[in-house]
């Protein structure tokens, strides 16, 4: 009888524990969305019941912060009251431009990655990106010739981008050079805004800026967050997920911005070495705590053959988890990713 009653007590304890876990949902899930940086940004905050209003107000402030970084990184139009990337490009070949420290941080990380990856990443690829964009947006038909692209190569020398950290200036020494922070700014903004939210007291949250997800703290009930990875072959589904704590997940893929010509897909991730859209993978996903770094690394690894990418990661960023989804739909990953990844949707 005692054994029977012990069984009953254990079962009761398990059920009570489950009930207690649900009780943690004293956190209220609130969210906000807006458009910036050519993407759809969502915040999800698990707010204590007593702080829902104040945390809703924080999301509005976070939007403004995101937009301010968008303004700084904007290379297409100048913004009143700030020197942004458009200003730097306008002054190319003329004079250095004083910019915000945040811009200097982005450029320094970008230049460091370019050096480490031996040219697989570049922030002065603007002239080539603009040519591809003119085809993508239908201003021109067909695809650019390799000759047309090669003529732009003298403008792609990042040694001609002078960074003065003492004066906070950037200077493109050659006219017609174009600085482009498109492969880093979204990651930087996500990181910056998430850190700001955490500093304001947010303990459990997710900032999702399209291909960039940054988590704050842990999930209030499940401890880890379960983040799905969109399936490049079925955009309405996911092919797997990563189970993470406080970190960031970034994917670079060929399926969000592209055009097709004569049955061939031309996407927006241009290889600085071939000047063509990189054709090694459908997507590369990276998990590492800093979203800026994750953004830069996912783009860089998208350009590199896998064995080179593995060597690069082992040499410079051994803790970073990487997953490669190749053109045939094969998935491979490094040991760090194996600890986080689960195959399958739903």
């Amino acid at each position: 009888m005692k054994r029977f009653m012990s069984g009953i007590m254990i079962a009761t304890s398990i059920i009570l524990l489950t009930a207690c876990q649900s009780a943690k949902s004293e956190y209220v899930k609130i969210s906000d969305q807006f458009f910036a940086m050519d993407t759809y940004i969502t915040y999800t905050i698990y707010a204590p019941e007593t702080e829902v209003e104040s945390m809703q107000a924080l999301m509005v402030e976070a939007n403004a912060l995101f937009e301010s970084i968008d303004d700084l990184a904007n290379r297409f139009e100048e913004v009143a009251g700030v020197n942004n990337i458009a200003t730097v490009n306008k002054k190319a070949g003329k004079e250095p431009v004083v910019v915000d420290e945040k811009v200097i941080e982005m450029v320094e990380l970008a230049k460091q990655t370019e050096e480490q990856s031996q040219g697989a990443f570049s922030v002065v690829l603007g002239p080539v990106s603009d040519v591809w964009r003119s085809y993508q947006e239908g201003e021109r038909t067909g695809v650019p010739s390799q000759d047309e692209l090669e003529q732009l190569r003298p403008l792609l020398d990042s040694d001609q981008l002078i960074v003065d950290t003492a004066e906070n200036t950037l200077y493109l020494t050659q006219p017609d050079m174009i600085l482009d922070l498109g492969a880093i700014a979204k990651g930087y903004a996500t990181e910056y805004v998430a850190n700001w939210l955490e500093a304001q007291g947010v303990e459990h949250a997710i900032v999702n800026a399209g291909g960039n997800v940054k988590t704050i703290g842990t999930h209030p009930v499940n401890e880890t967050f379960r983040i799905g990875l969109q399936d490049p072959d079925n955009l309405s589904s996911v092919f797997g997920s990563v189970q993470i704590g406080a970190t960031s997940v970034v994917t670079s893929g060929d399926y969000q911005r592209y055009f097709e010509y004569e049955g061939q897909r031309y996407h927006h991730l241009i290889d600085p070495q071939t000047l063509q859209p990189a054709r090694l993978y459908r997507s590369v996903s990276v998990v590492t705590p800093n979203s800026t770094l994750a953004d830069v690394l996912s783009t860089t690894l998208f350009m590199m053959p896998q064995h080179e990418g593995e060597t690069f990661i082992q040499q410079y960023y051994p803790d970073v988890a990487v997953l490669w989804y190749d053109l045939a739909g094969n998935i491979s990953m490094n040991p760090q990713m194996e600890e986080l990844f689960t195959l399958g949707g739903e």
Binding site: I8, I15, Q33, G138, G211, L229, L235, G345
Partner: protein, 134 residues
């Protein structure tokens, strides 16, 4: 055996058993209601909710139109799924996305500032992702 157990139980034992049964019943009912959630599509333009489509109640393919930032956005819905059929945009990415039936992957039409979210009426579904990297 069960009769013997029954006969030797005291009042405290009965209370424990009753409590256990009550918890199991409530937990089971909660799990059942989670897995049989009704789906709705919420259509937002410029962050304002402009249309709600009761996906679980649709019997025949139905079309809807909302005014996107770039022009009309034609939406098609069937039982438990929704898609963008037609819109004005340079890349038509949201039309290409196809049918959406999952609560974790909204359809996003950037040039039209239009977002379609599939939501489970009355809360989240059990297998939902916390977020999805696109």
């Amino acid at each position: 055996m069960w009769l013997k157990v029954w006969q030797t139980m005291k009042i405290g034992d009965f209370i424990v058993v009753a409590l256990t049964l009550a918890f199991v019943t409530i937990w089971g009912m909660s799990s059942f209601s989670q897995s049989s959630k009704q789906l709705e599509a919420h259509v937002f333009v410029e962050q304002a909710l402009v249309l709600t489509i009761p996906l679980s109640e649709i019997e025949e393919t139905t079309q809807y139109e909302v005014a996107g930032a770039n022009g009309p956005v034609i939406i098609e819905a069937q039982k438990n799924q929704v898609r963008v059929l037609q819109e004005r945009s340079p890349k038509h990415l949201c039309s290409i996305q196809g049918w959406a039936s999952q609560t974790f992957l909204p359809i996003v039409c950037l040039p039209n500032k239009t977002v379609i979210e599939v939501v489970a009426k009355g809360g989240e579904t059990e297998n939902e992702f916390d977020s999805v990297v696109r």
